[in-house]
């Protein structure tokens, strides 16, 4: 039996939020630099230059990269040997509350979608739990902005629509979204599962490292073809044209019903803030 101290977890969540809202990951910065080198549209190049300059200022002067410090999305992989003698969800939300308050971050959560009253500490987070072998707790955290989330889509295709149907739907989503999701974007795609699972697959896809590729052949080929075709749409940085519309495409798939071909497209803006931390459970 192993345990993770509640305060350790609260402080870890708090620190992850404060750090990730101010420091863009080095692989995302590299991808932006590569995009700048490959871009020849004048306005697109000027925008990419400002985006790269922005992350430098944010890092050096400790200012949030973007004013939309998002809704906090957490995916927790819980080692099966761990035992919690406290409310895990409550502890995470305490970390979120402290992170957004002590980190001078924007509170962007309203209590009810219709009454729109702000919860004032950015809680609750959206938390997904999963299980893994061992005694570690792996925390994946992303403050997810509203602009790109608003442009995300889901459709239940027919199996007959096939691969072409998926490609058409993804391209249509990105074309319609234009500059609104703050391109250059990372495109997370879920295929298969069912209605709610496909959305989660797409979300998990944007948590993947920007420079990895799928281990599943069909998904990997789809990622390559889609990235090429998306960057021919001429949406460009902030929708003003250019070849840099997406930095990466990630496809995650799952088994599905014989009658179904669910597809979900979750968009991530260029301020692709995410972090992963592993806490090791102590023998209790």
């Amino acid at each position: 039996m192993h345990k993770i101290d509640r305060l350790t977890l609260v402080n870890t969540i708090k620190d992850m939020i404060i750090e990730t809202t101010k420091k863009l990951g080095s692989s995302v910065v590299k991808s932006l630099n590569d995009a700048y080198d490959n871009e020849d549209n004048v306005i697109a190049k000027s925008i990419l230059n400002k985006i790269i300059e922005n992350q430098r200022i944010a890092r050096e002067e400790n200012i949030p990269l973007c004013q939309d410090t998002g809704v906090c999305v957490c995916i927790l992989e819980i080692g099966r040997d761990l035992v919690f003698d406290y409310d895990l969800t409550e502890a995470i939300n305490e970390g979120v509350s402290r992170g957004y308050t002590e980190g001078y971050l924007r509170k962007s959560v309203v209590k009810h979608p219709l009454n729109r009253v702000n919860t004032k500490d950015n809680t609750p987070a959206i938390i997904h739990y999963d299980f893994i072998p061992g005694n570690n707790l792996v925390i994946h955290l992303a403050p997810k902005g509203g602009g790109s989330e608003n442009m995300s889509t889901l459709k239940m295709l027919s199996p007959a629509d096939g691969r072409d149907g998926i490609i058409d739907f993804v391209l249509e989503t990105i074309k319609n979204a234009g500059g609104k999701p703050c391109p250059p974007i990372i495109v997370g795609i879920g295929i298969g599962g069912n209605f709610e699972h496909v959305a989660y697959l797409a979300k998990k896809a944007i948590f993947r490292p920007i420079d990895d590729e799928s281990q599943v052949l069909e998904d990997r080929l789809l990622e390559k073809e889609l990235l090429e075709r998306i960057n021919k749409l001429n949406v460009g940085p902030m929708g003003l044209g250019g070849r840099t519309t997406a930095l990466a495409v990630k496809v995650n798939s799952a088994p599905c019903h014989i009658a179904s071909l669910p597809v979900a497209v979750n968009l991530q803006c260029h301020s692709a803030r995410k972090k992963e931390v592993t806490l090791i459970g102590k023998k209790a």
Partner: protein, 173 residues
């Protein structure tokens, strides 16, 4: 080469702007996003006074992060403009001329910009840290209960933006 604009922007300067022009704005601008727009339009519908005179003014769609001690403002990049499309025509009727936000707008809104000879400027989304350096002072002047969505009076120096809809109704998108 960017064009320098000083607020309030004169009619002559405004109508001579063309899509694709890069501009640097200095002077006073006002912030408002979804909730503040709704409040202002509700106030107009009830014949109540607005928190500031809209005539010839510049409104910037932003909800900043809280300022740290010794900071004028926190991170303060633009939010998506299309959500304000429903409210902007009413404010332009009251004299609003310049809007700053990010992303595309509806055809109806483009028609209204042309009708009132206004202009829509696009700031770059997701560069709130860089833009915060152009803000010299910030003061909440209305709806403090809205937090990040309150109306703020900002003094900016060389705030960068691109003309996305000009007074002739041309658009970059």
């Amino acid at each position: 080469m960017e064009k320098k604009l000083k607020t309030p922007i004169s009619d002559f300067e405004r109508v001579s702007l063309n899509i694709g022009d890069e501009v640097l704005i200095s002077g006073i601008i006002y912030t408002a996003r979804d909730a503040a727009h709704k409040n202002m339009v509700d106030a107009l519908d009830e014949s109540k006074e607005l928190p500031f005179d809209l005539k010839g003014q510049v409104v910037y769609y932003v909800g900043p992060t809280p300022a740290k001690p010794n900071q004028a403002i926190g991170s303060c990049g633009p939010t998506s403009s299309y959500r304000m499309d429903k409210f902007s025509p009413r404010l332009m009727k009251e004299g609003l001329k310049v809007m700053i936000g990010k992303g595309e707008r509806s055809q109806e809104l483009i028609n209204e910009v042309k009708k009132y000879q206004g202009v829509y400027l696009m700031a770059i989304g997701g560069i709130g840290a860089l833009l915060s350096k152009t803000v010299k002072s910030s003061e909440v002047i209305a709806y403090p209960e809205l937090g990040a969505e309150a109306i703020r009076k900002l003094e900016v120096v060389n705030f960068p933006a691109i003309v996305a809809i000009d007074s002739k109704g041309n658009t970059l998108f």
